[in-house]
């Protein structure tokens, strides 16, 4: 890249210092963080307060710069060219008398906004530098080197009142009133038991039979036991239907549920 710089025409640049600055710009072109950054750098050459920067001059500087870069065949990213086009447009707006036909913002408004953007970027950069120069934790200020961890000890406090105690005692001593619900296994016919029983009996029932007939003899008298046996027999019947072993039928609501074994020929 050094050789390419030698090909610049020196008389384009007024002073050695300016030429150096220009070279620095060109060599560092990739170092700019976008066109706005480049514009900010260029505006510094005007050596004025950013609020008084001549946007027209800045636009010319930028366009110059892009022109130089092109002549040096430095590839500029597309957004630099977009900015160049926009600045050329801005330049024309600033130079030509306003066209009453045309609406949209005036050249002055656009220029003012660009100046604002530059000033804002500059301000944020200055603040960023100030921020980074603060007394920073781990560099200038330090936290405790030997922190102690706070252990969490969970203690469970049990509470019970005298009332709880007395009620508890009363509950035991009058167990029948307060006995918690307990499954009385003696009075329960499990579905498995019902299923076993039905499977064994299926072979003998040729025609539709009321499923109630499958309830074991000794489960019919006690209502509690009968309820359980009926429920499990019904559930077992459904299970058998699912297995394809039987068909169920009920002629009417609350009518007896009838069951028929499916023969080998009935099965698919």
């Amino acid at each position: 890249m050094a050789e390419t710089i030698d090909t610049t025409e020196p008389d384009q640049w007024e002073s050695v210092a300016e030429r150096r600055a220009a070279e620095a710009l060109i060599v560092d072109v990739d170092g700019f963080e976008g066109p706005l950054d480049l514009l900010l750098t260029l505006s510094r050459t005007q050596k004025v307060d950013l609020r008084k920067v001549s946007v027209l001059m800045l636009a010319e500087q930028y366009l110059d710069f892009v022109e130089k870069a092109r002549s040096l065949r430095i590839e500029l990213a597309a957004d630099y060219l977009v900015m160049a086009a926009w600045l050329a447009f801005l330049k024309s707006r600033l130079l030509l008398p306003p066209d009453p036909e045309e609406d949209g913002p005036s050249g002055e408004e656009l220029a003012a906004h660009l100046a604002f953007q530059l000033e804002r970027l500059e301000a944020m950069r200055a603040r960023a530098a100030q921020l980074m120069a603060r007394d920073r934790l781990g560099r200038d200020r330090f936290a405790r080197g030997l922190p102690e961890t706070v252990e969490t000890a969970r203690t469970v406090r049990y509470t019970a009142s005298l009332l709880d105690l007395m009620q508890g005692y009363a509950r035991i001593r009058t167990r029948d009133e307060f006995r918690p619900f307990v499954m009385d296994r003696d009075a329960v016919l499990t579905m498995e038991e019902a299923l076993d029983r039905m499977r064994a009996m299926l072979g003998y029932s040729g025609d539709w039979v009321d499923i109630a007939t499958f309830i074991p003899e000794d489960w019919r008298r006690d209502p509690k036991r009968r309820r359980s046996a009926a429920a499990s027999t019904f559930a077992a019947s459904l299970e058998l239907v699912k297995a394809g072993r039987v068909t169920l039928r009920q002629e009417d609501t609350f009518a007896p549920i009838k069951l028929k074994a499916r023969g080998a020929d009935d099965q698919r």
Partner: protein
């Protein structure tokens, strides 16, 4: 990178003769330095280590002694650890370093009932508790009540096997506001107080009957109390 950008840092320069070009900082300043180093260091520091970091002519040992006095009786103290020094939390404040979360939990039904039986029947063996409750008493229940210091071991019973008995403690009486276990109301009083027919569980149950209830014919299975306790 730290030291050179801080312009307040006194850069101690050693002259040709090994003498400091600058005077050692005042002792109060040295004390500040020791304070900062002991605070930020992850390990205890020896006076030698500190002095090596301090400006020439400093006396870390003396500064540590000053600092130690300054922290005497404070929330943190300067303590000696072997031949080094460290800042540590004052021992009486160690409670602050453990966050205690107190969770209030209702005593499980099994525990309440066991406690009630012991209170009403003490001294009472485990077998007796089981007989009255109709379920076996889990080890955890007894342990919990012991831990709460509401029951303790009483005398062994002079029956075969010499089983241990449980009795309620002073702490129990305190907690429940009783002067003696004899103050516990009897069943008749409980009923009169309306305690017996409160909250009858849903389902058809015969009305309340007498307190003859030592019969536990249909004992619920063993794991019952865990199913319904807590």
């Amino acid at each position: 990178m730290t030291s050179d950008d801080s312009d307040t840092a006194p850069a101690p320069e050693i002259g040709p003769g090994g003498d400091s070009l600058f005077q050692a900082p005042p002792l109060a300043e040295q004390e500040r330095m020791v304070e900062a180093m002991l605070f930020a260091s992850s390990d205890p520091l020896t006076t030698r280590q500190m002095q090596d970091r301090m400006p020439h002519g400093s006396d870390a040992a003396e500064a540590v002694q000053l600092l130690r006095k300054r922290y005497a009786g404070r929330g943190v103290n300067v303590v000696r650890v072997g031949d080094a020094w460290a800042i540590r939390t004052a021992p009486d404040l160690s409670f602050l370093m453990s966050r205690e979360t107190v969770e209030t939990r209702k005593l499980s039904r099994a525990a309440i009932e066991t406690l009630a039986i012991i209170a009403y029947h003490q001294p009472c063996t485990r077998a007796e508790i089981e007989e009255i409750r109709g379920v076996s008493v889990s080890r955890g229940t007894i342990d919990l009540l012991m831990e709460l210091e509401w029951i303790r071991l009483g005398r062994r019973k002079m029956t075969p096997g010499r089983p241990v008995t449980y009795v309620v403690t002073e702490a129990f009486l305190d907690h429940f506001g009783l002067e003696s276990p004899r103050d516990l109301p009897g069943l008749k009083e409980l009923r009169e107080a309306g305690l017996l027919d409160s909250r009858p569980p849903p389902g058809a149950f015969p009305g309340p009957e007498g307190d003859d209830g030592d019969d536990a014919p249909d004992a619920p299975p063993e794991d019952q109390e865990d199913m319904f306790g807590r």
